[in-house]
Symmetry: D2
Subunit: 493 residues, 4 copies
């Protein structure tokens, strides 16, 4: 998943990058990196851990001079962090820094192609081949003194060869001036926003919360398929690179993005309210009633608020999340799993006991945590328990950058083993929910329907994880390769 | 403030203590300590930092053998943590471990008295003189082989000499058997609860959430003025030590305790709903109306939910709190204070813009944070802003263990410099609120009235910080001494 | 083994203690501790690791106020360091700090006895029962206001009950004044020295190098069986506590003490010269000749210098020790043991090749390291290799504080399995050396004879490890207990 | 200074690199780096600190797969370490790793030249431009599939443009096979050796001690001006790149290299004996006599041994160096500088008192340490003190990689402010020594004469620091630039 931030300003950018990256920390806590551009120099500092720890020492920040720079936070997909894979990445020739957010599905092909040009990748990070393709295309066009046309052509060439879903920022000299580039692939699956300060400085980031943290206004989403060329005090230059066919990721809206982020001009939280309201209607139509609506914190809070309003029942914070608990370090034979869970998430008995409660969650992927939470709920003496999910069942893996398991690990597949593209019919869904609810020992389980999702959002979206309709083709052999890699990682950790 | 947990069981207690202390982590993050009792041995481990870090290494936990033990988490009152002040404390003779939660107001007198018996305190921690008095009284009564009567007499003697407000646990041999003691001073100002497991194991803790984390049932509050003697598989022995005059701290209910804790048989969250509901009525009586009720997370959420229900306006999570931000480490001249705040707490414009919003907070002590939050709110384009506080104005320092500033640092004192005991009249309060609201540039500011507080809780409580009626006398010279110390600490840090 | 330092001065002692402890660091690198006395307070700081790391932060040292204090460095005898066992130790009543150097052989008896008085030991460190006996005797004599007579009587009482070999320092109020005590048990087996500054400040330490580091003059050894009472600007008061029968440890002189330390008015290095010279004579009498004398660094350098002078052959530094190598962390199957050794100790071929070399070592305990060094020497092409050891064969375990293995681990026991007390006859020794030399594939092996040791030092010494004559009786069952404990530790690590 | 090690083998090289780097740790303790070559991949790990700490975790070493690789340890020249400057460095195209030992005097020119080709340096490390020049020349000759001729031509081109003094290793594919390159510049000022294992594996390193640590035989010095192409099981291919004019650095022999290293077929220690012997003759000719010869450890030991043999006086270890002392962390006002020194270096009074002592040191650069040592010596009651230095006075800065101060910081310049190239005449030297000896309050000061240095070593050497004859021209403006940089660094730290 990861988060990037690029800033070009008329003042030093390192404090801004550091500030903004903290607002993107929810997108990745494994490593942080900042590279600035100061004339021909590229001061840099990468480190494992949180932004606040990696840049704690004042002298570290002081070294990162320059008014153009890029920062990145990384999601820990593959085992324990290895610093050599930490973004941003650089190419000495012609002096380019790059960071991205997304997944390149033809990494292996690109690696082989680059090798055939005697270019060796130094990491397992999939922004590196994109950087190398871009830098090589630039230098091939003109050894130095690159113009805007060179850059646009090189990026077009790079985009043509690169498969997957991503947004990226890059920093380099164009027409002899420091320049920040922002590009979002034509699918627009991965998010990306543009911001500007009152002084005319520019920033591009994974989410608008990073712009808020800088005091920059959010101009809007990065336009899919277009290159933005950013310089302080000037309007962005826009170059169409490929034909867009925008289908932004719906899972960002449901789960991953911060609620205070704004995409397509609308706050994420607003969509979550809409999802909760629509879910409430679908649930009520089943003939149920309740006297408590309780979210599993933190993500499902807004949807639960809206659900409660819609059904006219009180919204209650029935679970308290422990801000200080980390991984459970006490051995399983010393403490029961139920007790271990209660350190992290404690139910308030009075909110459950004797009540008909609706428990709201955002989605079910592997399904083990929600199962344990419901077991805990049952010990609190509720009269009825209704589990409602403000997304449809996840039936298909994601190949575009969300770390969602292989098919066999998706809990929904146990109840709908062979789903057609397009999603389940409502009847099929209700049938599946019934069997699943029995296993969970709840009175009902209700997912949002795929139709309900469409209705609530009223936007064109990639919802492949729900409906199996992949907007960017991923051939079967690549799906297998990705699944194999994920399994390997899983078994290794 | 701090948190303690004592457990006596028919199995090893170290994993239980470690598990339970994590649920008390909100009461103190500076240091953690565990001492167990294993025959005549007292295995122990103290460390600076969070429980999950101090006990991360499995071999550390493995050393802490025994089925009786005490754990503690400490609030960082005095500058950076010093390990030598970390509880629990021990006395070799007759082999006692002790930890507490509270404040001993005659620490200096006790130190001098002990010194006159040639007993030297090794720390600045105020549980140490209590331990020494108790141990000394025990040994004076009988050099070894202490009976229950000895223990009760020694504790009575100790309680008589000790002033302040506290709950404590102690572990030692009584009648030749490992025994857990729990005691709460007669004022009952500081909290303390008793729990039991299905197997008949016992635990005493600062808050019931620690019992939940152990899978223990909450039996009830520790009875003020009584000694509980706990052994696994037996009913607790209760010995009345002093005449109780219970006035539990109301600030625990308003702010400090976790909402999922249960005190006096009622969940803390429930009281926060009652406070919010009462506040809403008082606010409505002033003739105001709104279309959004927004809490400043995390504490004021329940009161805001109730407030919204009462006034019939939508409850909205208008601020998003960053779970990853620590202290601001970027220098003030590099980032504006407003931008620094937005990394920690980001408003969602759509929830404010064009709306008449009620912003709910739990209390105002120093007042600087809420001032900056409101400045940020004003940039979000609200039509009206009403700040409501679900507690009365804090006009008096606390001498019973809550780290509330000296008089000059209490923001409310700037608007009511010379308050009578008993609290302000409603007219005085409204007048003060009006002047303060003008300074904050909000449309109104409404504190809960002292009468409203009483009505909402309908319990006898220490509310000295609001009404200046101190249930346990603190002579003027002691108040001055405490204030001096706090000022010194403040200027030193 | 460990090292202690006590200082009483007319200025703050913490910087002095910190400075002096670094000079004792060779006696223990596991943990460091300092406790000062400032009126009735005992500021303290203990930590795992080297002195320079434990006291690196200036604020740590700044907290340790007072002009009387005690420091300690600990040798890692039992597995990985546990901070709770780190000296100095304190007793609140009557306010005493204590640290020692040595071994208490009746620790278990003392623990039981103290327990019968309801005094519980909180650690596995054997100075703790000594401290408790002393404090208890003091308080029994007079509850407070202890006089010099009280102290002398209490120490006499403590010494009478304590078996083993030790030197100690203690700090407390005597006759109402801060006072440093120093005591060395009557056997004088463990070292201890007294120092004074030009200003009349006093220090007592394990070795005189700590005094040098303070700029204090070395007055002389602590007198065995006597109590020294030290106050700045006054002559020491001396109280005879028990009848001395001084037999200082010869192994300190041979191996453990720093060469620049002075004991009994003579530098340790001087004794090492004498041992080397005597060894040379004994070796020459066997009819050997050589053209290179090479020490195994660092300890055997002085003896090798003297050996070379005596036999008239050049002294050469034929091995270079790597100052930076720590434990070997590369797995055995990746690097041969011989190569691993060469990182730590590299031979210079030119000093060996074609030469008749004498390799000098200080002693052989387990024998595995010297065996590997000789294997390495053989690859350097020497004409002859003579291994000479400037001590007799170690045939008996130490029960007085030197970490020397159980009988079965002493390499010499494989060649002399059942030694009589008094040491081997020269014929027996030569026979044993012959068989051992064959196993080591060297041309000869020569230990110093026990008679030679006596002649070279011309002092009364405990040489029990060589001759089996234990000056302080250690009953068979205790020897067994100590051996069992060591074996357990060995197998556990 | 720094140290490098390259290994190509028929087995994994990471454990070998790790082992060998530890033997080079004296050349640099600031950072360590290893890059291996495994097919097209370049696993790598760099870290700040000692080799044993950077590679402590087994999983780190396990990631570094491949049977070809390069390691490096860095000397902390510029303030606190910055990881981005840590060698080895890589170029993606055509996939080359490189590390060096030395100093590139035209770094700034190379940086500008590379920039004109749009190649940006990412660090301040001077091996990076060498790597870039080499990689660029290779790719310019042939985009991929580089042959031995390509490599030799590219290296010749690189060597032609590069000024300064250096040895380097590089790893890449040549003729489709993994290949280790070793090159030493024609001046041969910086050291470099070639080693081979019994199995036909090859290694090139800064010093032969690294080869010893691998169990590799030392084949000999790297031939100046020649490229060695190394593959396991094959004889090295040698390509003459430039005409050699070898003048190896004499300061390596005197001070920097480990005594057990072998250069030009002769152990370093042997040259130190020769220097000591020659110095003794020159000193004796001045008519002095002594009864103790005492080295300042560790470097001057061998010279002192030889000096003692030559003058027929006993060699004594009169100073004991503390293995554990780090930087002095106690503030100057708490401990006198003399006392601080005694923690690090303690004199043994008996070796000085009443004696005519010769104190031997290797060289004098800034002169402050030796001054304090002599002040300490004077407190030990010597009859006479003669300071002898087994090198001539350092009168000229080094521009070839030894961190020797600017002219104004060289102590000798205070006594010989305007030295002619060629060194002082003996009369001039004796005059200068006389004035300096008076300042040091010693009976005499004797440096080795420049003629004596030549006679003792009988080898062609760069001795520019002594005689001002720089074998590789360094124009005045570059000298000034280097001096400015050093001053800046000095004042900043």
């Amino acid at each position: 998943m990861c988060g990037f931030l690029g800033v070009i300003a008329s003042r030093p950018v390192a404090p801004l990058l550091c500030q903004g990256l903290q607002a993107l920390q929810h997108r990745g806590q494994d490593s942080a990196g900042i590279v600035t551009v100061d004339g021909p120099r590229f001061p840099m500092h990468h480190g494992l851990g949180l932004v606040r720890d990696v840049y704690r020492e004042p002298e570290v920040l002081a070294r990162l001079t320059g008014s153009l720079g890029i920062g990145h936070v990384r999601y820990p997909t593959i085992g324990r962090g290895v610093l050599d894979d930490a973004q941003p990445f650089l190419d000495r020739r012609p002096g380019v820094v790059m960071a991205h957010n997304g997944n390149i599905t033809n990494y292996d092909e690109l690696r082989v192609e680059l090798l055939s040009r005697s270019i060796h990748l130094l990491s397992a990070c999939d922004v590196e081949p994109v950087l190398c393709l871009f830098a090589d295309a630039l230098v091939a066009a003109r050894p130095r003194g690159h113009t805007l046309d060179d850059v646009a052509a090189a990026l077009a060439d790079t985009a043509r060869r690169t498969e997957g879903a991503f947004s990226l920022v890059a920093a380099l000299q164009v027409d002899g001036r420091p320049t920040l580039l922002a590009f979002r692939d034509p699918s627009g699956i991965r998010p990306g926003v543009l911001g500007r300060s009152a002084e005319g400085d520019w920033a591009a980031a994974s989410e608008s919360v990073a712009l808020d943290a800088l005091g920059f206004a959010t101009v809007g989403d990065l336009p899919p398929g277009e290159l933005l060329v950013l310089r302080p005090g000037e309007e962005p230059l826009r170059r169409k690179v490929t034909t867009p066919a925008a289908t932004p990721c719906v899972f960002e809206e449901i789960y991953f993005a911060r609620p205070d982020s704004v995409t397509a001009g609308r706050p994420v939280v607003d969509r979550r309210y809409a999802l909760g309201r629509r879910l409430a209607r679908e649930w009520r139509e089943r003939g149920f009633a309740c006297d408590r609506v309780i979210p599993i914190p933190d993500t499902s809070r807004p949807a639960a608020v809206a659900f409660a309003e819609e059904v006219g029942a009180p919204y209650r914070e029935g679970f308290i999340k422990n801000r200080y608990s980390g991984r459970t370090f006490i051995m399983a034979d010393q403490i029961s799993r139920a007790d271990a869970l209660r350190v992290k998430l404690n139910p308030i008995r009075a909110e459950f006991e004797g009540h008909r409660v609706v428990v709201v969650d955002d989605s079910i992927v592997r399904g083990s945590t929600v199962q344990r939470i419901l077991a805990m709920v049952r010990t609190q003496g509720p009269r009825e328990v209704h589990l409602v999910i403000h997304a449809p069942p996840v039936l298909h893996p994601c190949y575009y950058g969300i770390d969602m398991s292989t098919e066999e690990e998706l809990a929904a597949r146990r109840y709908a083993p062979d789903p057609r593209p397009g999603g389940l019919t409502l009847a099929e869904q209700r049938d599946m929910e019934g069997r699943w609810a029995a296993d969970l020992a709840v009175d009902s389980l209700t997912f949002l329907s795929v139709a309900g999702l469409d209705a609530a959002l009223a936007e064109r979206r990639c919802a492949a994880c729900f409906d199996g309709r992949y907007p960017v083709p991923v051939p079967a052999e690549k799906r297998d390769a990705i699944a194999r890699e994920r399994r390997g990682v899983g078994s290794g950790s």
